[in-house]
Symmetry: C2
Subunit: 289 residues, 2 copies
């Protein structure tokens, strides 16, 4: 799963100690990822790594080697910036994961320089995994927004896909939405599918999860069985939503036909590929359409 498995020791106890952290920063083999508004910096198909400066946030220990990440303004003088989606396709998986983790953490710092409780400027703590307010004393932590993403299958072995108006033509995906306060993941699945498509789902089963650094989501994947309702765009989210026959999705997965699916590294695509790899259940025969 790309964007996951950075495989670092995050050293969450050690990083709380400023002197431990200063020693890691001073280690000759310590390195820092480089990010900017333009993306994450790469060089020759690998992450660009430079010496950490005093502002860099601590990512963790890769074996014994401390890894940091920092925003630069301007150009670091080497390499080139890549978007995270581009990085996901080009970099080795572990480096794409590191980049995603760094991008999430730095994006949080960029947008959380002030105290939401009192409006005062805040200061980084805990190697960049916390920001404290010297004025009111509040502590703030990076946010991770849980999103449910769901493969909905009906009794005729069809897959529910929708598209947003702003997507490239022909692009469809499984449905997804943010978890709201006070609901379980399963309740969020039922609510989101109903809101976006008018389809009611029954059984809801967990499949897998994937960090999604745009900017700080955690995609939590489910499969669900439709029990009623006919698809129609139900809120402002989707411009089109309908059932797809297995043959149509197979063609899309092969890259033929008018329909395009999410990229291979996305959990959306993995939910779809997982369905394609599983024959229709015997009590739910495949339609001969």
């Amino acid at each position: 799963m790309v964007f996951a498995g950075a495989g670092l020791d995050r050293a969450s106890v050690g990083r709380r100690d400023p002197s431990w952290l200063a020693a890691r920063r001073a280690q000759p083999d310590a390195r820092s990822l480089v990010l900017s508004d333009a993306g994450i910096w790469v060089e020759n198909g690998r992450l660009l790594l430079v010496e950490p400066d005093g502002e860099s946030v601590f990512l963790g220990l890769d074996g014994q080697r401390p890894l940091f990440a920092a925003d630069v303004t301007g150009e670091p003088g080497r390499g080139r910036p890549a978007g995270l989606r581009e990085a996901a396709s080009e970099l080795p998986a572990a480096e794409a994961a590191l980049g995603a983790y760094a991008a999430s953490l730095l994006s949080w710092h960029r947008r959380h320089r002030y105290c939401a409780n009192c409006g005062s400027p805040t200061e980084p703590r805990d190697g960049g995994h916390q920001r404290d307010c010297p004025s009111c004393g509040a502590s703030h932590f990076p946010r991770t927004d849980p999103v449910v993403i769901v493969r909905v299958i009906d009794a005729a072995d069809r897959l529910l896909l929708g598209r947003q108006a702003r997507w490239p033509p022909g692009r469809f995906s499984v449905l997804a939405g943010f978890v709201e306060p006070g609901e379980t993941l399963e309740e969020a699945v039922v609510r989101e599918v109903l809101e976006e498509s008018g389809v009611e789902v029954g059984e809801v089963d967990y499949v897998a999860s994937q960090p999604w650094p745009f900017p700080s989501s955690l995609m939590i994947g489910f499969t669900a069985r439709a029990v009623g309702g006919e698809p129609r765009p139900g809120d402002d989210e989707l411009s089109e939503v309908r059932w797809f026959e297995r043959s149509e999705v197979e063609a899309a997965a092969r890259g033929t036909g008018a329909v395009a699916l999410s990229p291979p590294y996305s959990i959306s695509r993995q939910l779809i590929d997982g369905w394609l790899a599983t024959p229709a259940a015997p009590d739910r025969p495949r339609r001969s359409s």
Copy 2:
């Protein structure tokens, strides 16, 4: 599952429209939950419901009846405040769920009156499900913090429980911790168990989830199989962590013995009770200790 299943129509499309929302607020049957620093207000074992005022946040439609929630300063003149844990024991489950949802949402408003991006005061939007900054234009949304909580079982059919020093004497729970940026739920499970106890886990399987309004967590429950390591408190989180024989946990669940478990409405307890209800796997015989 208590704190879940409020069963409302959250009307996430309608609530974006101020005129729709004003009409709901003016409905004669509209009601508002009452919260204060002291907790959620109850009366005769039910939620205290009053007429909504202009400051109340929109929770959703209970059938046709619009439900809101508001903070009061001082006393509403009726009922009494209950802590959320107390409410979970005393109220009907659906009302405890409503109270938890309201508490999460209002707690977010209390602590997010200023823009984290620029420090200016923000204004509520979308019936209280968003706060916008008139100065820099940033939009802010309620946060839901994903927490993994995990039942770890070893090959000898023992359960891993830990306790925090600040808990009442004898109280133990399964291990839990916040998901960090850039990791999957399964990676968070492996990391948290290793950090807190030194125990390595292999197979990790999803069980269930529960909103946990203290103040805005979403507990995501897993079961995991230990594959190595001997328990010892590994970070500052736990003061004690060890293996428990099934007989010891059975006694604790009955309320006998020196060990106390989490309250019945918690997912911690449900993970434990689920294990107690399942006989030891045949290839992992129960110890005769």
